[in-house]
């Protein structure tokens, strides 16, 4: 199974530039069609399952608008 992840978007920093949408290897990002942020941009959002938490969207984002999480195995006795 590929690693599981998710992102959170700091909506008010996003400018809807779509660079992350284009760069996401899983194609799970889109601009929210019916939501606007405080500056009048459509912020990006996860549209379906399949985010791996690879972090590529955060690496290309000019606004540092994205928070990325990934699930990892933790072992305990």
């Amino acid at each position: 199974m590929p690693p599981q992840g998710r992102i959170e978007v700091r909506d008010n920093y996003c400018k809807g530039c779509e660079i992350c949408v284009d760069a996401c290897p899983q194609g799970v990002l889109e601009l929210a069609p019916e939501r606007l942020n405080i500056k009048g941009y459509h912020p990006v959002e996860l549209i379906e399952q399949g985010c791996t938490g690879c972090g590529i969207c955060a690496i290309v984002c000019p606004e540092a608008a994205l928070i990325v999480y990934r699930e990892v195995k933790s072992r305990s006795q």
Binding site: Q4, G5, R10, N12, Y13, K15, G16, C17, E18, I19, D22, A23, K39, Y41, G53, G55, I56, A58, I59, V60, C61, P62, E63, A64, A65, L66, I67, V68, Y69, R70, E71, V72, K73, S74, R75, S76, Q77
Partner: protein, 259 residues
């Protein structure tokens, strides 16, 4: 018995050295990527409280609002001179200028050459977006042959306007330069390489190895008349062939560093 459970790990969040404000940059402008990388490196080195930035004139004139550390603002092209003064008075602070190509390679060309020749122990982040972004996309010394801008509507004619200047290569010839490289901000691999170089530039300063400069190929989607994604492609297809990614001067001591 060993239990394996899944637990969520933070992969990325906004660096602390970035102020909690929205920037005025156009959507998709990679000035923002450069800001982010600088802030990440400063966080990782733990030098935020020891930093002094010098903002220049151009779209990045408000850089002092976007980083959460001390900043001053220099007249057009004069950031290396101001940084020289700051660094000589406060040699234990990390001093960085952040300059565009119009600022650094046009009106400020004399300042940057002299600072590099003197081997000033400062770090220069040099954003090359092949035009004067702030004032409406006029031709800069870095504008490519044939490139259309608001002041070269027929494309840059090298017979009249001369040839674009490869700043990194030129400054690397000066003995005072410790670290001079060119990187690009157009894709994840190149952005990672750019971050590593920004780190090495600050390490150059930390170890007193002289002048350091990272030239970053950057987009100006607004004045280029392209979408942000098309602009990234234009960096790759048009800019990199003229401005190759490369290490033009690396002080041998940097190769020994373990980071």
């Amino acid at each position: 018995m060993e239990n394996v459970t899944m637990e969520e790990q933070l992969v990325y969040d906004r660096p602390e050295s970035m102020a909690s404000v929205q920037t005025h940059y156009c959507p998709g402008c990679t000035h923002g990527v450069a800001h982010r990388l600088v802030a990440e490196v400063i966080d990782e080195m733990g030098i935020k409280d020891n930093m002094i930035g010098v903002a220049s004139v151009g779209c990045s004139v408000f850089a002092y609002n976007y980083f959460d550390f001390d900043f001053v603002q220099a007249p057009h092209g004069r950031a290396p001179a101001m940084a020289t003064g700051v660094k000589r008075v406060l040699p234990h602070r990390f001093v960085m200028t952040y300059q565009g190509d119009g600022d650094l390679a046009s009106i400020g060309m004399g300042e940057i050459v002299a600072a590099a020749a003197r081997g000033e122990n400062i770090t220069v982040i040099f954003l090359n977006n092949a035009n004067y972004g702030m004032t409406g996309g006029q031709m800069a010394p870095t504008t490519l042959p044939g490139q259309k801008t608001s002041s070269s509507p027929g494309g840059r004619d090298v017979e009249v306007a001369g040839f674009p200047i490869r700043t990194a290569e030129m400054l690397a010839t000066l003995d005072g330069a410790g670290y001079v490289v060119r990187r690009s901000l157009h894709d994840p691999k190149n952005i990672r390489m750019a971050k590593k170089s920004i780190r090495l530039a600050f390490e150059t300063q930390k170890h007193g190895l002289g002048f350091s400069l990272v030239e970053l190929l950057s987009t100006c989607p607004t004045n280029w008349g392209l979408t942000p994604v098309q602009a990234l492609k234009w960096v790759e297809d048009a800019m990199i062939p003229y401005y190759p990614i490369g290490d033009y001067k690396v002080n041998p001591a940097l190769k020994e560093l373990k980071i």
